[in-house]
Amino acid sequence: MIQLLHTPFHERTELLCQPKNWRRWAGYLVAGSYEMSLDREYWAIRNTAALIDVSPLMKYLITGVDAALLLNRVVTRDIDKLQVGQVYYTGWCDEDGKMIDDGTLSRLDETTYRLTSAEPSLRWLTMNAVGLELEITEITDSMAALSLQGPNSSSVLNRCCDNPVDEIKYFRLMHNELDGIPISISRTGYTGDLGYEIWIDAKDALPVWDALIAAGHDFGILPVGILAMDMARVEAGLFMIESDYTSSDHAWIKAQQSSPFELGLGWTVNLDKPGYFVGRPALAREQREGSTWKLMGLEVEWDGLEALFKDVGLPPQILSMAIRASLPVRSGKKQIGYVSTATWSPLLKKYIALAHLQKPYFEPGTNLRMEVTVQHHRQYAPARVVTLPFYEPEWKKR
């Protein structure tokens, strides 16, 4: 194996990807964008329907009478409450209550679950499953996945699927058929808009792609790469492993690790569930004592930004895509945190960022300053702490 892998949609995406800006994702190549500029792709997410190849997601099927036992032990959420046809977003931690990875967990039937993750997780699952009656099957390569995101996404699916998708509630899933091909559709996504993820046997990938493109024509469907998705996910306040936090598995030092509380995932830590789960004692302690860091939104104040550029005779320069870079955040002269991803929001017309802030600076409304580069000089623009997400249309969960 001396080449990166192609996803099951490569035959299509290869012809569509004009800038040839392939990005690496978990050992696969995916399109950064299909068009030269990200504008139309971003607006497809927010205004019509965006078709995104998310096949590289790691996927595992966990089946057996002890499947729930394993998952309850590994993830922080209460799996006994997860109903058939429901999906949970969850993180999982090490013994110290620090995040290893995050993903979605779907309950497909009484004893079958599908877990997605960003990093390979087979070994961690297997290590925790010793003595349990269950089977863990990695289906990363055999299952293709498409994310269809945007306000028109339900209309596209209704046109081509056997059963209407209107009945799928937020974070639920249904089995469906499309031209005789069985698919599973979950109302999930990574954009904070109305959206669905479609799970397909890899051998059926191309006909499903074609059917969606055909059905979506009248609704403004557009193949969209991961760069536009990156802008949308920041607006939605969604973080990404390795950009916004370091897996505790990969961290060299403790300071690189994050707990779910620090990442704003306190709501996914179900300390009221019975029994032991990995990281529980540490998480309970942290919940009691409070966290010293928190992931928050940061909105750069336009007037202040404009003034910095005006000083050198320039109009404010706007980012053309999300940047995954660490930018210092200060209160007065003191650094009290850092930004991990920043983007210009074309919809909100704001410069926004995901920021890791130290206590007590993470309270909403706190006035801070964030580094911006103005004509090769590092400057600090005034910015305000806000709660996440930056953007949440009322149709996202309706």
């Binding site: 194996m1 001396i2 080449q3 990166l4 892998l5 690496r24 978990a26 050992g27 390979p120 997780s121 087979l122 070994r123 961690w124 297997t126 990695e138 598995d249 990969h250 060299w252 403790k254």
Partner: protein, 528 residues
């Protein structure tokens, strides 16, 4: 006569001796290096044994050369280039192969073919080893503390060691505890299940020892080899431009530029002792040179049993040096090739030729190879670590032709009945017929060869016993025990006499650390 008066004399022009001389010159001292051979470099030499074909004769990869030495001696200015050696390719008996490429995604996917669990364990293992190496590596640059001493210097060292330990997590401490006690085989089997992966990793745990992967203590050697991999962007694993002789050449040039003198063809017979102090040397040809201090950058046995009258050392010290394990277990076959070897598992010219090629199909294979050596035979099916220098640096061979460097284990110094030409030839034949299993064209591409046994290492490079590291790198011979407990700080019981080569802390490998650290210590003693 003033021409033969020096501040310091360095015996031995191996890379450590050259580093020592460069640092002495840099400190403003008048220094001469005396090398018995006509070329410098010791075990780090490149020689054109067959016209047009340059053999990196002994040492062939560079992983541990200290970055601060490269910077301080400005080695790049003096010609040092360390080229990437990005991958490891291990052909298997069933015709398949394992490729560990220089990209984590590619390596994971490749391992996945063999075992999905190993694919993930590999990353976790690398990180665990990386963390352990990171924890131990700073100690290499420290003078090793002697826990039995109350000398403030040792206490400071222990304190620093303690601080490092305190900075480690419990998991890392356990990992280190295992590394220093387990066999390489046992430790690796806790992580992996794929035979060829186990074999390939285990092999690096036994390099330079006369032990098998199932022998206790070999896990540490794995870590030692990992140290080269944590210099991050520095990319320490590599092949030196011009072969490992390129490293010695650059250090020699740096030493000369700093004002050191290098004399080749100058074999030292004796260290001259005056008033209980090393005061110079006498050469084989009778010439005498005077100096304030003497550094021996030769192996410990010659340094203490041959160059100096034993009466200057305590009996116990002499006994410990005699017990120092220095018998070689590795050999080399250097080949001149008319074309690249073609591996049936991955035919044609490819990335495998630019990396290491490891014949190590399983742990049992390595252990069996050891079994034969244990009873005085060379392995019938040896572990072979091959690189093709000319595929990395085309200047190593005539255009279109190639050189191959095959490191071989096991080949015991104490071969039953002793080594002779017939046995050397049989040994070479064993290696070629082993390679032939995986690359059938190899035999007909050979246009010349050089066979090196431990006895040849002793004869040519001047390393007593022929051990590649001047003495095995096992736990009872490293840190504060190298070469002898209580004498791990480069000083010796003879005042003004210092050990400056691989037999001293931190040990073997082309790293230059002993050369540099010994000078650093000697300068504190006020004799210079």
């Amino acid at each position: 006569m003033t021409v033969n008066h020096y501040d310091a004399i360095v015996i031995g022009g191996g890379h450590n001796g050259l580093v020592a001389a460069a640092y002495l010159a840099r400190a403003g001292k008048k220094v001469v290096v005396l090398e018995r051979r006509e070329i410098v470099g010791g075990a780090a030499v490149t020689e054109e044994i067959i016209p047009g074909f340059k053999f990196t004769e002994f040492s062939y990869v560079v992983s541990l050369l200290r970055p601060e030495i490269i910077r301080e001696l400005e080695l790049p200015k003096h010609g040092l280039k360390i080229l990437p050696l990005p991958s490891t390719f291990a052909p298997m008996d069933n015709g398949d192969y394992l490729g560990l490429w220089d990209d984590p995604d590619l390596t994971r996917r490749e391992l996945y073919r063999h075992s999905p669990l190993d694919a993930e364990a590999y990353d976790a293992y690398s990180r665990a080893m990386g963390r352990a190496a990171k924890a131990i590596k700073p100690l290499i640059s420290l003078i090793p503390p002697d826990p039995s001493s109350l000398h403030p210097r040792d206490l400071m060292g222990l304190l620093k060691l303690g601080q490092y330990a305190a900075g480690l997590s419990e998991k890392e401490l356990y990992m280190i505890a295992k590394l220093v006690t387990q066999s390489a085989g046992d430790m690796l089997e806790e992580w992996f299940e794929t035979d060829v992966l186990l074999g390939t990793k285990a092999a690096s745990g036994v390099v330079g020892t006369l032990l098998g992967p199932r022998s206790a203590g070999t896990a540490y050697v794995l870590l030692h080899h990992y140290m080269g991999e944590i210099d991050g962007a520095f990319r320490a694993w590599g092949f030196a431009k011009g072969g490992t002789g390129g490293v010695s050449g650059a250090i020699a040039n740096a030493a000369l530029a700093l004002g050191a003198e290098i004399r080749v063809g100058s074999s030292v017979a004796q260290v001259i002792v005056k008033k209980g102090r090393a005061a110079g040397v006498a050469l084989d040809n009778g010439d005498e040179l005077q100096s304030k201090v003497v550094f021996s950058a030769a192996d410990p046995k010659r340094t203490f049993l041959q160059f100096v009258d034993p009466k200057y050392f305590p009996d116990e010290f002499i006994q410990s040096i005699k017990n120092f394990r220095t018998l070689g277990s590795s050999g080399k076959l250097n080949l001149a090739l008319s074309e690249l070897p073609d591996f049936t598992a991955l035919p044609g010219e490819g990335p495998l030729h630019r990396g290491a090629i490891s014949i190590s199909p399983s742990l049992d294979y390595i252990e069996r190879a050891y079994d034969e050596a244990k009873y005085g035979q060379f392995s019938r099916r040896p572990f072979i670590d091959m690189i093709i220098p000319s595929a990395i640096d085309p200047d190593m061979a005539p255009p279109g032709q190639h050189v191959a460097s095959c490191f071989i284990q096991y080949a015991p110094y104490d071969l039953e009945g002793g080594w002779d030409d017939a046995k050397k030839e049989a040994f070479a034949e064993t290696v070629i017929s082993t390679l032939e299993i995986y690359a059938p064209n190899i035999r007909r591409t050979i246009v010349g060869k050089q066979v090196i046994t431990p006895v040849d290492i002793e004869r040519i490079a001047g390393i007593t016993g022929g051990n590649i590291f001047h003495g095995e790198m096992l736990l009872n011979q490293i840190f504060f025990l190298r070469p002898v407990a209580g004498w791990a700080d480069f000083r010796t019981p003879l005042r003004g006499y210092y050990l400056a080569a691989s037999g001293a802390h931190p040990g073997g490998g082309v790293m230059g650390a002993a050369g540099k650290l010994s000078v650093q210590e000697a300068l504190k003693d006020g004799l210079l």
